[in-house]
Point group: C2
Chain length 198, copies 2
Amino acid sequence: MLPEAIEELISQLSKLPTIGRKSAQRLTLHLLRQPEFELNEFGNAVLNLKKNVTLCQRCFNFAESDLCNLCQSAKRNHRLICVVEDVLDVIAIENSNEFNGLYHVLHGHLSPLDGVGPDELKIAELIARVEAEHDPEEVILATGTSMEGEATATYIADKLAGGNIKVSRISQGMPIGGDLDYADSLTLRRALSGRREV
Amino acid sequence: MLPEAIEELISQLSKLPTIGRKSAQRLTLHLLRQPEFELNEFGNAVLNLKKNVTLCQRCFNFAESDLCNLCQSAKRNHRLICVVEDVLDVIAIENSNEFNGLYHVLHGHLSPLDGVGPDELKIAELIARVEAEHDPEEVILATGTSMEGEATATYIADKLAGGNIKVSRISQGMPIGGDLDYADSLTLRRALSGRREV
């Protein structure tokens, strides 16, 4: 019914997560209305995505050379290492403007049912990194607060225990702007047990 | 913070309707995990989108040659013309398997506030088409049921009045599977005034 080139892009867009066939149709028709040069920019951005992208050899963030921009920066505190599950978490924490150290991207969390054990993650690399770097101060475990994220944090904390490095976990409790009656009971329980004197 | 190639694709994806920056980040990270050949397929689909695509000279659907697949098909009833606002509507009606005629795509609806008058749409082309074709039987006005869609249908009906061609409008009423208490009052009013004896 539609020209092949249009069907092809609809089917390519449908493969993306969260984009169903109807959305793919709408996006494709939107793109058909764009000038040729914008399509070229978009298409080339897709083609070039992986061309110059590699993983940072220290923190496994995306990088354009051996080390990522953050690991190269002299403005960052190289003695703090924040451990996260993936690169989206790096972006999220950077946007919070609360952290000035370096990261360590595990590229996932422990999930035995999916066949993800410690060897599938960059955990050995983290231990080696902590041992190799001179004078690291603190490792902040910022994996997710799901069961898998918790298990991953606990596993790493165990591995790092006994060294003379401080290991911390991000705090858990009520999200900001949240109404108590909308919070799930586990979050409320954590918020209560983690209460601080004011 | 991220390599330029990644930032570039995030910004390209963010330009698409319904895709915000966070979704664009997620989609980009998903794409980074795909094998190179899939990225090439996707990128080339974008680059080639408009290469072989033109508008059908009769109905203004997308086409690969002078006439679209539907206008070329001998299996369709060429005496029925279904007038729609855009190509997504053609897809939707085709999926309903209820219509076997040809289409006429207006590429929009009348919207004076946005500067869209009759000359911006393929209305003159529709009138000329109806006059030029031998023995057309019926024009079905299947523009949307918004105020603009209604106005467009009324405008075209006026233009076609006086010829000896039947002009019809798609019916309006309760959508199938809809609960009456969720329907807006205008839809309910139409459903009542358009009631049929059973």
